[in-house]
């Protein structure tokens, strides 16, 4: 396994800047999740590392060696795609063996058989080995895709939203499984997603991307608790952080503050400013209150079995607010 290092990497497609001057170091053995909305440049970053795209500028190093001018095959990385990485014309076994049979590895057949069997067991699919790839269920297919990466011992595993096409239950199961596999292999893993739950639950490090730029890089907890910008703050947390004009609730704002960020759980009820309840959303384990504070929407959480109803008025006070300046940067 190896460390992956990007220095000053840029890539643009026609008029759109997909990746802007990115510096990113993926430590050896880390599980790094790149998080961002569609079009933030996550997938491009991944493809740049895989060698499927050539950077316009900058350098990519894997294990200390520059790979910028190498073909994907030469970079010795494994990649799991969002979908379609199983060859429909081959059996599951051949799919798993495919990377091993490449001219670069030329693994002997008995070795292939052994490895394929091992991986199949890890993924709980040994009984499906002789099925056609098209005969598998969605979850099984995605397992096999992951298996195709696992049969090799690449320098780094790259995964491009591998779980996004699965339903919620399966996703939850595979999340746990991926985390376990990562722990067992001690592999360097770069994972791209727009799902904050995946980012928070699996990553050792999260990188938040915005319009091709890496805005913040750190542990999930660090990012959740200490967002560097308003944008980052809005990426994590469900329901989203409330971003309100400074002074709305009479909090003490530092100089230059423009916006105050208030996580729903960080709003105390019972005293402070009047807020009108617009809607009460019972989600079972939590209840969300949609409030109106002088024309601004505020969301907060309350007891699941609250008796509050729309139209009532409550008092709220902020707790541990964070402040951002006009450009969205955090003021501490």
């Amino acid at each position: 396994m190896a460390e992956v290092q990007l220095t000053g990497v840029s890539k643009s497609f026609k008029a759109t800047q997909a990746v802007v001057d990115m510096d990113l170091t993926i430590p050896d053995g880390a599980f790094v999740v790149l998080l961002g909305p569609t079009g933030a440049g996550k997938t491009t970053t991944l493809r740049l590392i895989a060698g499927l795209e050539k950077p316009d500028a900058g350098d990519i190093k894997i294990g200390g060696t520059s790979v910028t001018n190498l073909t994907p095959a030469q970079r010795d990385v494994a990649m799991v795609f969002q979908q379609y990485s199983l060859y429909p014309h081959m059996s599951v076994r051949d799919n798993l063996a495919f990377p091993l049979r490449s001219p670069i590895l030329k693994t002997p057949e008995d070795e292939i058989a052994r490895k394929v069997k091992e991986v199949a067991e890890v993924l709980h699919i040994p009984h499906k080995l002789d099925n056609k790839a098209t005969e598998l269920s969605g979850g099984e297919m995605q397992r096999v895709s992951i298996g195709r990466a696992l049969v090799r011992d690449p320098q780094v595993y790259l995964m491009d939203e591998p779980l996004s096409s699965l339903d919620a239950k399966l996703r939850a199961d595979l999340r746990v499984e991926l985390k376990r596999i990562h722990a067992e292999l001690a592999a360097t893993l770069l994972y791209v997603t727009h799902d904050q739950i995946e980012a928070m639950t699996m990553a050792t490090h999260v990188g938040v991307l915005d319009e091709g730029q890496l805005v913040q890089f750190g542990t999930p907890r660090n990012i959740y608790e200490n967002p560097r910008t308003a944008y980052v703050a809005a990426r994590l947390g469900q329901p989203r952080i409330n971003l309100l004009p400074v002074g709305l609730m009479g909090e003490d704002a530092p100089a230059g503050a423009h916006q105050v960020g208030l996580r729903p759980e960080n709003i105390r009820h019972g005293k402070g400013r009047d807020a009108q309840v617009v809607r009460v959303e019972h989600l079972g384990d939590q209840t969300r209150l949609h409030l109106k504070v002088s024309d601004h929407d505020v969301i907060t959480l309350t007891d699941p079995h609250t008796t509050l109803e729309a139209g009532e008025t409550i008092q709220i006070t902020p707790e541990n607010p964070v402040f951002f300046d006009a450009s969205g940067a955090r003021i501490t």
């Binding site: 060698g51 095959a73 990649m79 379609y84 060859y87 990377p99 490449s102 001219p103």
Partner: protein, 312 residues
């Protein structure tokens, strides 16, 4: 209450629509059926008036199609008894079979040129389609349009310089010349169709192979080709049907060695005048493969005739 849905036509309108369509289908089949029937008629039945629907079937048309015959004297006929059933048939007209006709040759030419050009156009077309589908090629749209527009050219207009060129190169009336020509015409269809088929194969497949250590070329034939197989097969049939049916180039650029069946069939001559049963027999033999292919192709038919723009 039966199953009902807004978009599901009522049983009555289905009946109505069904019977109209079937009626049309039957009418449209009459000429084809007539061709096939006529192939089994005797020459006099074929040109009888009013036309005969009920007749005594004979293989005369087929015998005449495949043989050349000459009229012989009674002494000669008496001295040489008929050798087989085909001989038997022509004896009725005091004739003997003296050898095979040109039909077999022309049919074989159709097969050679048809398959040759099909192979070449699908082969080249697959490569080009792959390149257009996967790589950034400068002015790709213009190139594609240019490729397609070659198909739209009136054959006669193109034939003038081709004729001159082939004359100088000695390609007139050769199999190679016709194969190259049909390939050039067919390649546009092949590129457009195959590009559609290859576009549908997600790039991720090859990218996965690239990352797994295969070269681009290996990824192409190990991953893309097997998945495009159905598309390639149906493209091939479309190309074959075109080459099979082509008439204008064939009539202008071939005379004997490389002439295909379409210019030949209408000129099947009997003793004085067209020998309609033989023409019909030739037409039947010639049309049958295409009918079979059409049935095989029915799923891809739309795609083929619209250069891949419409798929079912």
């Amino acid at each position: 209450m039966s199953a009902y849905s807004v978009t599901e036509p009522s049983t009555r309108s289905k009946w109505f629509a069904g019977s109209l369509v079937i009626l049309y289908a039957l009418i449209t089949m009459i000429p084809l059926a007539w061709i096939m029937l006529t192939g089994f008629k005797s020459p006099s039945d074929a040109i009888s008036y009013p036309p005969k629907v009920v007749f005594e079937p004979t293989l005369e048309g087929y015998v005449n199609l495949f043989t050349t015959r000459t009229r012989q004297t009674q002494e000669f006929l008496d001295a040489n008894p008929p050798q087989n059933w085909a001989d038997e048939i022509v004896r009725e007209y005091d004739m003997v079979i003296v050898g095979p006709s040109k039909f077999g040759e022309r049919f074989l030419n159709s097969v050679i040129i048809g398959f040759g050009s099909t192979f070449l156009s699908v082969f080249l077309g697959t490569l080009a389609a792959y390149a257009f589908s996967r790589f950034k090629i400068p002015l790709a749209d213009d190139l594609l349009f240019f490729i397609l527009s070659t198909r739209m050219m009136p054959p006669i207009a193109v034939a003038i310089p081709i004729f001159l060129m082939y004359r100088n190169l000695g390609l007139s009336d050769t199999h190679l010349g016709m194969i190259l020509l049909y390939t050039a015409v067919n390649i546009s269809l092949a590129v457009w169709l195959l590009k559609g088929f290859i576009d549908e194969i997600p790039r991720e497949y090859e990218e996965a192979a690239l990352i797994d250590g295969y070269t681009r070329f290996q990824a192409f034939y190990k991953v893309v080709l097997p998945q495009a197989a159905t598309g390639i097969a149906s493209t091939a049939i479309f190309c074959l049907i075109f080459a099979w049916n082509e008439y204008a180039f064939a009539v202008l650029l071939t005379s004997a060695t490389a002439q295909t069946a379409p210019p030949f069939i209408p000129t099947i001559i009997g003793v004085g005048g067209l020998d309609w049963p033989a023409v019909a027999a030739g037409a039947t033999i010639f049309l049958l493969p295409v009918m079979i292919f059409t049935i095989l192709l029915r799923k891809h038919l739309l795609r083929g005739i619209t250069f891949g723009a419409v798929r079912k």
